[in-house]
């Protein structure tokens, strides 16, 4: 007996950006980086070939977590830090769904740190977008677990003494199978990264460097400035040398495996490392590069195939299901009558 509706799915080929919008007023502050992320996500989703009704957005709490209200899909604006756990339940109950987690630096790395690392470790097929603005916006400006040491905020008037997390390093440390980074305003790279994250089987982790125009304006200005970004960003491309500054510089290693900047003309291209998305050690090394010592890497750090939790669970279910007769009531009756029974007459 099934109670689940069996309805004609929406034809995804006809879907447009409009299908992924809602009638709700978007309530972020003017100039907030979240607007551009929303626009990019809404532009990307129609390209994925997934019927809108099969898409679910789950968020936690924070400015970023209002996101689901603006998506014309199923969604839940849940509780602080718990979105990966709730999303895990959604995805593992119904693996047909495309499940997205929207979270922030406080939500994912502070109160919800545990759920994030375990979702990544298990490799549940979720797409986790972490909007990192290095501040608590919704609660009006306290330092976050990604705020830099010395940061003065309402709760750190003498400067923060917390060593910050590097979200990409955390994700790699949690054995994520897909890790990427992109800037909120990068309308060229973001759709590429989002499409790849969606296509990746398993937990995809994308750190989106996001500007909070009210409480931490310009936090990423150093690397987002259009005029200098060729030198401040390092675009990662699988199989290609790690070059920046218009190809004049690259990333190499010294004999103790410390990364260093290679002068391509003086030292030659063969001193420059070639990006390999399937190498977790390289991904970690790259995650430690930060501006101003190095350009900040953007794009896909790591993408490796690994069995997903949800698919493995389905496989176990199918395997166990060979014991079943197909008549659930009869199988249930048999279970009730199993073990040592006796008849009272």
């Amino acid at each position: 007996m099934t109670v689940y509706p069996n309805l004609q799915p929406t034809d995804p080929s006809g879907q447009t950006r409009k299908d992924f919008q809602t009638d709700q007023d978007v309530r972020w502050c003017p100039g907030c980086g979240d607007y551009s992320i929303l626009a990019n996500v809404q532009r990307t989703l129609p390209k994925l070939g997934i019927p809108r009704e099969n898409v679910v957005f789950i968020s936690g709490i924070g400015c970023s977590s209002r996101f689901p209200y603006y998506m014309g899909t199923y969604g839940m604006h849940s509780i602080h830090g718990r979105a990966p756990a709730i999303a895990t339940g959604v995805k593992t109950l119904n693996p047909e769904l495309s499940v997205w987690v929207i979270t922030g630096d406080g939500d994912a790395l502070s109160i919800g740190g545990n759920h994030l690392i375990h979702a990544l470790r298990r490799n549940v097929d979720l797409n986790i977008l972490l909007f990192n603005n290095k501040i608590y916006g919704l609660t009006k400006g306290q330092y976050s677990p990604t705020s830099e040491v010395g940061k003065r905020t309402k709760s750190t008037p003498y400067g923060s003494i917390d060593h910050p997390f590097n979200p990409v390093s955390v994700a790699l440390g949690a054995d994520a199978s897909f890790v990427a980074r992109v800037l909120d305003v990068d309308a060229k790279l973001m759709p590429v990264v989002l499409e790849r994250a969606a296509a990746h089987g398993g937990a995809s982790f994308v750190e989106i460097l996001q500007n909070c125009s009210i409480f931490n304006d310009g936090a990423w200005a150093d690397i987002s400035d259009r005029k200098t970004k060729h030198a401040t960003q390092l675009e990662l491309q699988h199989g290609l040398p790690l070059l920046f500054d218009k190809g004049t510089k690259g990333i190499g290693l010294d004999n103790r495996m410390h990364p260093r900047v290679v002068d391509v003309e003086a030292e030659g291209l063969d001193k420059v490392l070639v990006h390999d998305e399937t190498n977790p050690a390289m991904a970690y090394l790259l995650s430690r590069l930060t501006y101003p010592e190095f350009p900040t890497p953007m794009g896909v750090f790591l993408s490796i195939p690994r069995p997903t939790y949800d698919a493995e669970l389905e496989a176990q279910m199918r395997h166990a299901g060979r014991k079943a007769t197909g008549d659930g009531m009869a199988d249930m009756q048999a279970l009730l009558e199993s073990g040592r029974t006796w008849e009272v007459r």
């Binding site: 099934t2 509706p5 929406t10 756990a85 709730i86 895990t88 339940g89 959604v90 119904n94």
Partner: protein
């Protein structure tokens, strides 16, 4: 000299020994055989919190009590008639419960200087005359076991492990029980030497009873009148898990358990993990919060979301349950209560989470609460919880406790075909769809991801009536708080009238949960003593039955026994402005029938 046989109505035995002595197995074998010979039986295991406590220590004692009778049995028995003590520590910790004149079988070999000292005995109680109140049978179980299994050729350590079967054999003889059921079980479990050794130990114990002069009589407990049908032994945790599985079949819903290991609830997770062939998924989460979160996610996606835990886990789940209240998703939240606060007494029973379940969340956050009253009843309580959850689109708390969860009783296997279905209707019609519209039970439509045209957003922010959009409107907030409360109150529309068991006036004993057997037996005995008494055992703690106030008004006295400091008493007083008499106990142990009986009769004398 021929031995005599005495017929008894009922007997309570406690097996006690080191955690490594196999007392749980011994007890469950005796239980099963007793059930098969037609007795009514109830059992209660009592094991230490430590996984492998040092041998011979007081805190390492593991006990198993069972009560079998030719009449209906409601509890595992107050005080044992027979105590089997495998070492001095077992004697020390259990002797206080043994009835005066009761039988004590002690394994003399274990009463050596080292063990006596570990148990804190200055002199050997088997020799110093301190056990004069009891019929003491010192038996050298260890030596006789080693002798019996010697020819099998097991090592000393393996041979020693058979001594519980020697003790079991002896007690089988004492109560005229057949060996065949245990031998069958041994055959299923073991082969070769291990089987041979245990069989020999069992038979040696039996023959020892037959031949030893010390035992001059044995006992017979006749068959009980038991409703015909197919039976099995069941623990509360097993029955609860089966109830959840049955609820899925009755509703057609996919089952989903999110859980994190915790005593005494973990066995539900273990049991359900094995039932994947029934389409039930289990997820061992990274913590209690993720466990309830995943269950909530599964409910959103259209499953019967379940999470199982005990008190400390409930404290962690509170916020997510609040989200389930706000999103109005059907879930079952199982709390197998244990002694608290904090880590408290993990392996001991208590009923002290009632108010936590009712009020332990921020805001006005009402949830229906259902309580199971016996091991077998956990099955029906679980189905009831699922039924309410689905009917009213609401998270439901199902309360069990350590006593019910680990206790076992013979259970008449239900027929699935006889159980009422749980109707489920998913929303599919896009035309006019409003996620927060209402049906007669004030439930809202369950529109699950994958349904075209019904895309909507849920969340923890206050919802606008009908549309489900975020709303900060003051009137709407008040309206919605009231609506969520009304919805839970609606559950009472579906409850049968309260039918007190016993007299129409006098003392009304009101209880809930695992105290059922003790309260019912105490009320029955009080009436045999000439007292006027009745018993109401509440299946539903929230909402309470609509007629409970009227029922209470018919009695001069309302006595509320609970294993807490009076939580139900507090509720009854608050709700009905009625004087009630709390009777509380907080020792990590269930009520004894005699305690409750004394309390019922005590006031009868006061009143007279």
């Amino acid at each position: 000299m021929p031995k005599t046989e005495t017929v008894l109505d009922e007997v309570t035995i406690r097996f006690a020994g080191d955690s490594g002595d196999g007392m749980q197995l011994t007890g469950s074998q005796f239980t099963h055989t007793s059930a098969l010979v037609g007795n009514d039986v109830s059992t209660f295991p009592d094991y230490p919190a430590e996984i492998r406590a040092p041998a011979g220590s007081l805190f390492g004692v593991s006990g198993f009590q069972l009560h079998f009778s030719s009449k209906a049995v409601l509890t595992p028995g107050d005080a044992p008639d027979v105590l089997v003590a495998m070492n001095p520590a077992a004697l020390k910790t259990n002797l206080g419960d043994l009835k005066v004149g009761g039988i004590l079988i002690a394994n003399t070999q274990a009463f050596d200087d080292k063990n006596l000292e570990r148990a804190g005995y200055a002199t050997n109680p088997l020799e110093d005359g301190s056990l004069g109140d009891y019929r003491v049978y010192p038996v050298d179980i260890t030596t006789m076991t080693l002798g019996a299994v010697a020819e099998v050729g097991l090592g000393q350590k393996a041979a020693l492990r058979c001594k519980n079967f020697f003790a079991l054999g002896l007690v089988y003889w004492l109560f005229n029980r057949p060996l065949e059921h245990t031998l069958d079980w041994l055959k299923e479990k073991f082969h070769g030497d291990v089987y041979d050794a245990n069989e020999k130990a069992l038979k040696a114990g039996y023959h020892y009873g037959e031949t030893a002069e010390a035992f001059d009589q044995s006992y017979v407990v006749e068959q009980a009148q038991i409703e015909p049908g197919l039976y099995r032994n069941i623990t509360g945790n097993e029955a609860l898990a089966l109830g959840l599985l049955a609820a899925c079949q009755l509703s057609g819903l996919k089952g989903y358990l999110g859980s994190y290991p915790i005593t005494p609830a973990s066995d539900i997770l273990h049991f359900l993990s094995k039932q994947k062939h029934l389409g039930f998924k289990t997820f061992q989460a990274e913590d209690e919060i993720a466990a309830v979160g995943a269950a909530l996610g599964a409910a959103f996606a259209g499953g019967l979301g379940v999470t199982t835990t005990s008190g400390p886990g409930m404290a962690l789940k509170a916020e997510a349950i609040g989200l389930a209240v706000m999103t109005e998703l059907p879930m079952v939240i199982v709390n197998v209560q244990r002694g608290g606060p904090s880590t408290g007494l993990p392996t001991k029973t208590e009923q002290s989470d009632l108010l936590q379940m009712l009020y332990g969340r921020n805001g006005e956050s009402p949830v229906p609460i259902v309580a199971a009253q016996s091991p077998g009843d956990c099955f029906y309580a679980a189905i009831e919880a699922a039924r309410i959850a689905v009917r009213h689109s609401v998270p439901v708390v199902l309360l069990s406790d350590g006593y019910v969860a680990n206790g076992a009783e013979p259970w008449k296997v239900p027929k699935m075909a006889d159980l009422p279905r749980i109707p489920v209707r998913f929303a599919t019609e896009a035309e006019g769809f409003e996620p927060y519209s209402r049906d007669d039970d004030l439930g809202r439509p369950w529109a699950i991801p994958g349904t075209p045209g019904l895309e909507h957003r849920l969340g923890g922010l206050e919802k606008q009536h009908l549309t489900g959009n975020v709303s900060y409107n003051p009137e709407n907030h008040e309206f919605m708080c009231q609506l969520r409360a009304d919805k839970v109150a609606k559950v009472a529309d579906h409850l049968p009238p309260t039918a007190p068991h016993g007299d129409a006036d006098g003392t009304l004993v009101i209880g809930w949960g695992g105290t059922f057997g003790a309260l019912r037996a105490a009320v029955d005995q009080a009436r045999q003593h000439g007292a006027k008494a009745a018993h109401v055992h509440l299946r539903h703690l929230n909402p309470l039955p609509k007629d409970l106030g009227e029922v209470m008004a018919r009695y001069e006295r309302v006595l509320v026994p609970e294993l807490n400091l009076g939580q139900l008493s507090f509720l009854l007083r608050a709700k009905y402005l009625r004087a009630v008499e709390p009777y509380t106990k907080l020792q990590g142990k269930p009520f004894k029938v005699s305690e409750v009986l004394a309390r019922i009769l005590e006031a009868k004398e006061v009143a007279a």
